[in-house]
Each structure stands twice: as structure tokens, then as C-alpha cells.
């Protein structure tokens, strides 16, 4: 009978997966991902791909906001930088899709670091407002620099093809994008076992204390912005290649809010939470649409009010989570596990 999980060696304490149950769950999850595309139809594959892109963006934002404690409302703008860079490089200069994606990541990281400069002087809500301004400025540049981005018109990106295989049909893209998600996840969880990740966490706990202990705030805050924007750019570039089209409407302030909602509902400072939040917020509108279709038979007016229901649910879910379970889905999952581990003495 155990009353919790306690580690007796440093190796165990440092391990990413500490218990056999965790390892089994991971294997089951990976097996599910490997088998899923062979049984799913196109609709579910599209959803899975959307979730994957959202997971990349959410992990990126979580590194900045969850782990480093720098609130950012600019995620949508950074994704726009990634998407437009990738789109322009491929459409106008004929760069292969993977090349433009890599360049887009680095360009976005640089842009993110520039807009991260205010974080050296501001924190909390002032930083949130500064990143909000960054979002508005980036989107304005995107819609008004017609020569480069095509302005408000959609930018059409040619189909990504490698070795004669078209990458962006739902089935092929599934493997590409979930492969990238796997790499990003491994990089992210290991980041927080390195001095860099530890420094990020120290900054979010107490920035002054961190600086006294020798953490260079200037360097690490900009680095956090750069890494986070790198992943935002990756998510944006993948969207561009997957959709064949880049439009500014996909990267408005609403997107920034959506990603912030993902990591808050999933759990701040948790990679697992990023997965849960991204899946939850991506699937929620789809589930509502399907529910709407289901009740359409005896309530035909549902079509006209469905968008409002989706918007209201979005707001309501955020409010309810913050009021009832501020630590998000990850905490709920933990509570469920604890309940069964300690059963019958759980209270």
C-alpha cells in the first residue's frame, strides 16, 4: 500500500517517465498514433493533423508563458511570420517545402526575439499588452506590405512534393506532422533538464532571485522568446504547406487568445498539458458542429446559431476552467490518477 510516488535515487528522480504505468501509457499512446491513420477516414485525419499543428504551437507558447512566465498575446502574429515566410520562399523562389519551413522557423525566432526585447523592462500585464501590440503590428505589416505578402489577398503555396510523393494529402501529412510533433516533444521535455530550461523555470519563479543566482535575464528571456517563436513559426509554416494557402485571417488576435486558452486549459508549465489543451480546444468546435448536425433533425434553426454557440462555449470553457480548476486538464488527470492509486483510502 503506497501513499504516493517517492523516489529514492537521483536517476529515478531525473527520469522523464518514472513509473511503469507512465511507460505503458506512453507506449499505448504511440501505438494508437501509429495505428490511427489506417482506420480513420479523411475527416478524422484532418482533425488529427490540426491537433498536431496546435500541439506544436501550444508547446511553443507553454515554453514561454508556462515555464518562463512571460505572458504573450503575440502567438498568432508569430505564426503569421512563419506561414508567410514559408509561403513566400516556396511560392516565389521555388524553395522545397522542408527548406522553407526550416528558414521560416529561424526567421520567426529572430522576429520573436526582437519583440521580446520589451520583456527586459516589463513584466506581467505590461508585457501582455506589449505582445498584444506586437500582434497588431505584425498583422498590419502582413496586410499592408502588398509587394511582399500580397496584402489581404490569399497567398497560394504550391503542393509540397518530396521524391515524387505529395506530402500534403491528409494521410501523408499525418506522418510528417506527427513525426515533427515527436521531435518537438522530445526536445521540449529534455530542454527542461538542461541548464537553459532550469534557468527559464527560475525566471518564472522569481526573476530577481534568478538574476542574483547568476541567470542572465537578458539572455534567457530573449532565448525563451526565440525558442517559443521558433515553434510558432514551425506551426505556421506547416499550416501554410498543409493548406496550400496563407491568409491573414488565420493569424488574428483570436488565434493568440486560442493558444493562450489551450495552455491554460491544458496546464501551464506542462508538456502533457500542452497536448491535452491543444486537443481539447481543437476538437471542441468540431464536436459542437457534430452535435449541431445531430439535433438539426428536430431543431432546424441550429445552423444559424451554431457559430454563436461555439463562441459562447469557448468563452464559457475558459471562465469555468479558471474558476473551478485553474491548473487545467493536466491537474484533473493527476487527480484521477491519485484517486485510483490511493483507493480505497483516497480523500
Amino acid at each position: 500500500m503506497d501513499s504516493g510516488i517517492f523516489h529514492t535515487t537521483y536517476e529515478k528522480d531525473m527520469a522523464l517517465r518514472r513509473t511503469p504505468a507512465q511507460k505503458i501509457r506512453l507506449v499505448v499512446f504511440i501505438l494508437f498514433l501509429l495505428v490511427f491513420p489506417f482506420f480513420a477516414n479523411r475527416y478524422y485525419l484532418t482533425l488529427a493533423n490540426q491537433v498536431a499543428i496546435a500541439v506544436i504551437g501550444a508547446i511553443g507558447l507553454n515554453i514561454l508563458t508556462g515555464y518562463t512566465g512571460q505572458i504573450s498575446l503575440g502567438q498568432g502574429g508569430f505564426m503569421a511570420v512563419g506561414a508567410y515566410t514559408a509561403g513566400i520562399l516556396t511560392a516565389r523562389m521555388g524553395m522545397p517545402w522542408w527548406g522553407s519551413t526550416i528558414v521560416a522557423c529561424f526567421v520567426t525566432a529572430a522576429v520573436g526575439a526582437v519583440f521580446g526585447i520589451p520583456s527586459l523592462r516589463l513584466k506581467g500585464l505590461y508585457l501582455a499588452i506589449a505582445t498584444l501590440a506586437a500582434q497588431e503590428i505584425i498583422l498590419w505589416v502582413v496586410t499592408h506590405w502588398r509587394a511582399l505578402t500580397g496584402g489581404v489577398d490569399a497567398l497560394v503555396v504550391p503542393n509540397p512534393v518530396t521524391l515524387g510523393i505529395q506530402i500534403n494529402n491528409d494521410f501523408n501529412f499525418y506522418w510528417v506532422v506527427w513525426g515533427i510533433v515527436g521531435l518537438v516533444t522530445i526536445a521540449a521535455v529534455n530542454l527542461f533538464r538542461t541548464p537553459y530550461g532550469r534557468a527559464f523555470i527560475a525566471i518564472s519563479d522569481q526573476d530577481i532571485a534568478a538574476s542574483v543566482m547568476g541567470v542572465d535575464l537578458f539572455k534567457y528571456k530573449l532565448l525563451a522568446f526565440a525558442i517559443s517563436s521558433f515553434l510558432a513559426g514551425l506551426a505556421g509554416a506547416l499550416t501554410a504547406h498543409y493548406r496550400n494557402i496563407v491568409t491573414w485571417e488565420r493569424f488574428t488576435i483570436d488565434v493568440s487568445v486560442l493558444y493562450l486558452a489551450m495552455i491554460i486549459i491544458g496546464g501551464l508549465g506542462s508538456i502533457t498539458g500542452s497536448y491535452m489543451g491543444a486537443a481539447f480546444m481543437t476538437l471542441l468546435p468540431a464536436v459542437l458542429t457534430n452535435l449541431g448536425r445531430a439535433v438539426k433533425g428536430f431543431y432546424p434553426a441550429i445552423d444559424s446559431i451554431l457559430p454563436f454557440i461555439q463562441q459562447a462555449t469557448f468563452g464559457l470553457v475558459i471562465i469555468l476552467f479558471l474558476v473551478l480548476e485553474p491548473e487545467g486538464l493536466n491537474k484533473i488527470w493527476k487527480n484521477i490518477k491519485d484517486y485510483f492509486r490511493l483507493w480505497p483510502f483516497s480523500y
Binding site: 520583456s119 501582455a128 498584444l132 503590428i137 446559431i305 454563436f308 459562447a312 479558471l322
Partner: protein
Amino acid sequence: MDLFIQLTLTGLTNGAILALAALGFVLIFKASDVINFAQGEFLLIGAYVTFAMIAQFGLAWPLGMLLTLLIAVALGVIVERLVLRPMIGEPIISVIMVTIGLSSLLRAIVSSIWGNQPKAFPPFIPSNPVNVLGATVGEDRLWAIVIAIVMLGIFSVFFRRSREGIAMRAVADDQQAALSMGISVKKIFAWAWSIAAASAAVGGALVANIVGVGPELAGFGLRVFPVVILGGLDSIPGAVIGGVVIGLLEAYTGGYIGQGLNQVLPFIVLIVILMIRPYGLFGQEIIERV
């Protein structure tokens, strides 16, 4: 020269409306340290409820306006009680996020009642063109400036003279000290939210009178940020002066330069101000250095 006066008048009216929205924003921040991302939606609701009272129920406009204000006050109290009170003591990101969630919810409620199409507003303030120094401007725009000045006057008197106003300043200064002096902090928060909602409702009715009602009125919620950062997040005169400055800036850049630059310039100003003077022109210098 005519263009200059025209633009100045347009800028002043827009600034007056921005200032009205910013007043409520500053009030909430002053009393409870909460950044209200739903301020634009308060404006939206004010505009639509006034629209419903006057155009749909056919009430005389003084009565309709009064009912709108009552509804706005009730909305403020409900929002404070149900959404913001559980957030006391939570980290800033949760507080920011909860008002964002609130804005999404309120916008959805408004559009499910009144739809997404912009509607013409039966003007209760006449919009006859008036000749001012050679430029023509709608009468309603001039009224907007007058009303903003009157509201500012009422707010200043309220904060200096009334019991609740002084209590609100005490709460803003130090919640614990205020509590120990027998001030109910909860009541003060409710006051702040209801006054904020009411002033936004007045702003909403004014905008609706000038440009009609539509869901894009909620955009004022974002345009308020440059105003309050310029003026100082906790300064009421700052909100008004910031509103006028940003309003004029938008009008001049829109009129002389164009290219949509007037949409982005306020945000560039915002970042510049944040970098050199984060507490704004009139705010208290208590911002933490990093």
C-alpha cells in the same frame, strides 16, 4: 486648413469616445488591478441595448438611456460577482484570460440576440451638419465631446467628494488598510465594475448614434490599450488626455498619410511609451523594474 480643422474635430470626437471607454477601463484597474479585456464588449452591449430600447421598444430616448444604464450597472455587478471575485489572488495570466473568456461569451450573447449584421441606429442626437471654423461636422459628434467632458467632470467630483469615490481610492491604494478602516472591498469592486459598464454603455450609445450598431464596435476594446498606456493605467485625467491624443493621431495620420497607417500607429506609440515610460504620462510610478 479646412482639412486640418475637419480632422481635428473628427479626432476629438473619436478621442472623446475612446476616453469614455478608457475611463471604465482605468477605473477597474485602479480599484482592483484587473485589466479588463471585455471593455469593448461592454461598449457593444451598451450600444445594442440602447438600440433595442429606442428602435425596437420605441421608448423615448431619455427613458431608454436610463434603462440602458440600469442594465449596464446590473451587468457590471453580475460579472464582478460571478467571474472576477473567484479570481482574487490568482496570478495575472488567469485574470487576463478570464476577462478574455468573458469578452468572447458576451460577444456571442450579443450576436445571438441581434445577429451579426450592422444596423442603422435611430439617432436620438440629431446629426445635422454644423459649421465650425469653416469645417462641417455632425452635431452628434460635437455632443460626443460635450458628453465626454461632462462624464469626466462627474468622475472627478465622484472621486474627490463622494464617500464611495474616496473609499475606492483607498482600496486602490491598499486593500488591507482599506479593509481595516471598515471599507467593504467587495462592495467597492462591484461599484467599480458597474460604473465601468455604465460609462462604456454611454460610449457605446454615442458611437452607435454616429456610425450605427454592429459587432465591430467591440474593436474599441483593443483600441483602448494605447490610450490607457499613454495616459497611465491608473489615471483618470490620463485616460481622457490619452484618448484625445490617440484620437487626433489617428485622424491626422488617416487624413494626411493614409495607407491604413492610422490603425497601427497607436500600437507603435504603445510600445514606445512602454519602453521609455511604462507608467504613462500621468500614472503612478510604481511599476516594477525587471
